[in-house]
Amino acid sequence: MSIHTKTAIEAIKRSPFQAISAIFVLSLTFFVATMVAVLVYSSGRALSYFETRPQIISFLKDDATPETVAGLEDKLGKDTRIKDLKYVSKEEALEIYKKATSDNPLLAELVSPSIFPASLEFSVIDLKLAETVISEVKNEAIVEQVGFTANIGGEKSLSDVVSRLKTASLYLRLGGIVFVSVLATTSFLVLLVIISMRMTTRKGEVEILSLIGATPSFVRSPIILEALIYSLVGVLIGWTFAIIFWLYASPSIISYFGQIPVIPKDALTFFGLFFIILAIELVAGITISLIGSLIAVGRSLKKIR
């Protein structure tokens, strides 16, 4: 163990309550930061889900012939307001149903493809156009009914759903950024105070070290290491509590939101997301501790020298 690490650890042991305060505040900051990061991710995913899924589904009548379907497909394909057009056959509709009811296979066994209507699914380039397009498609002879994702949540129009999601997502991001910034500033100030106190208690030692030829970096190293230890422990504790929370809550969340992928369902993506958050938080923690300790040490060294 290097002399600086030893000095830093001894300083922490000598003032356990200072260390606990610093680690507590940093843990809280990074716990909230992890929660906010996952919520921002979830809102983004929900928004993306609603924005990218087929927005409009025109269910076709059972007597529609392949020729009439092809005619309508061609007509819609040429419409510049429409994008991502896709024909879904009865068999494919059954597959979608099977997938959606995969947790209860008995439901899928009780049905045959004939009860599912074939459909033409598509999106519009601008959600403002949705209502006009829907009313036009409804008038097509082979179209039985037109559904749109706005039905979810009982909104009047699809644009309402997406704009509400966008607003919620924006407020979540803004609120999250403000809240995390306040906590990060608090952590920074707590670190600054603790390191300044440490420098005051080490004033005599710093003077001796300086007289026997210690460079400023030699004097700074254990103090910066101490701040880094607080940050790293704080990040790890905050992140660990957050991941435990999400691991515990994810089955209920996944079940509640059903098809909407608010959090990753597979372990690899789930842990991948959390490790990316951890990496970002480690960088943030190191930055906070480095800047805080350098400012505190710089000010104290100026006074001492």
């Binding site: 030692e205 001796i208 300086s210 007289l211 026997i212």
Partner: protein, 216 residues
């Protein structure tokens, strides 16, 4: 090794040093004597570049340390060993750790530390006290820790500021014997003291200061 030329230093209206000039050659043992406030400590602080003169030149190995950039000061101090009247040992470190700190400061590879620390603690007679903390040592022992820390880096020059000031006569004599021994090994020593008995202890050159001037 050390050369002061027309060095002047004032603290407000007080003239601490008034155009003083002297030279200390390599391997010499020089006493800086004079009453309190005569300027002994000011001279030592200037050699350490803790304070700068108002005018004049202070040379260390022909380098004017007044003109040194701040970032070069640690390198200068690493070539000197310093012994303080109030010991200035680190209270939360053991005897051996206090000595190791000087090695760490001077970037001595840590695989050499054990040998060097053991050697120097044996020299000052503290090898059996290596794991004790300063609070467990006597004044004389603390001064020997301070001396061991100064010696372990194998400095060109040892500066001692009243190293016997806080010690009884017998302990002070022990410290002086050690300094004599170190000087005989070729180390240059500049020692500030106003202790008559100590000055008579060894027949060394004396630079006597009075009111900021060199008298003899």
């Amino acid at each position: 090794m050390i050369k002061f030329s027309d060095v002047t230093k004032s603290f407000g209206s007080i003239n601490a040093l008034n155009k003083i000039s002297f030279e200390v050659k390599s391997g010499e043992f020089v006493f800086l004597t004079g009453s309190s406030g005569a300027g002994k400590t000011t001279i030592l602080k200037m050699i350490l570049r803790e304070i700068l003169p108002d005018s004049g030149e202070v040379l260390f190995d022909d380098v004017d340390i007044v003109k040194l950039a701040d970032k070069e000061v640690p390198r200068l101090r690493q070539q000197m060993g310093i012994v303080f009247q109030d010991f200035k040992v680190l209270p939360e470190r053991t005897v051996s750790e206090n000595v190791e700190v000087a090695l760490a400061v001077s970037n001595v590879p840590d695989n050499e530390w054990d040998t060097r620390v053991h050697h120097v603690l044996k020299l000052v007679g503290l090898d059996k006290r290596a794991q004790l903390f300063p609070s467990q040592l006597s004044g004389g022992e603390l001064q020997r820790v301070s001396l061991a820390r100064a010696l372990v880096i194998n400095p060109k020059l040892i500066l001692a500021d009243e190293p016997t000031g806080n010690l009884d006569w017998k302990t002070a004599e022990g410290i002086m014997d050690l300094l004599e021994k170190i000087n005989k090994e070729g180390k240059t020593i500049i020692m500030a003291t106003h202790h008559e008995g100590i000055i008579k202890h060894g027949k060394h050159r004396i630079i006597h200061l009075d009111d900021g001037q060199v008298i003899k």
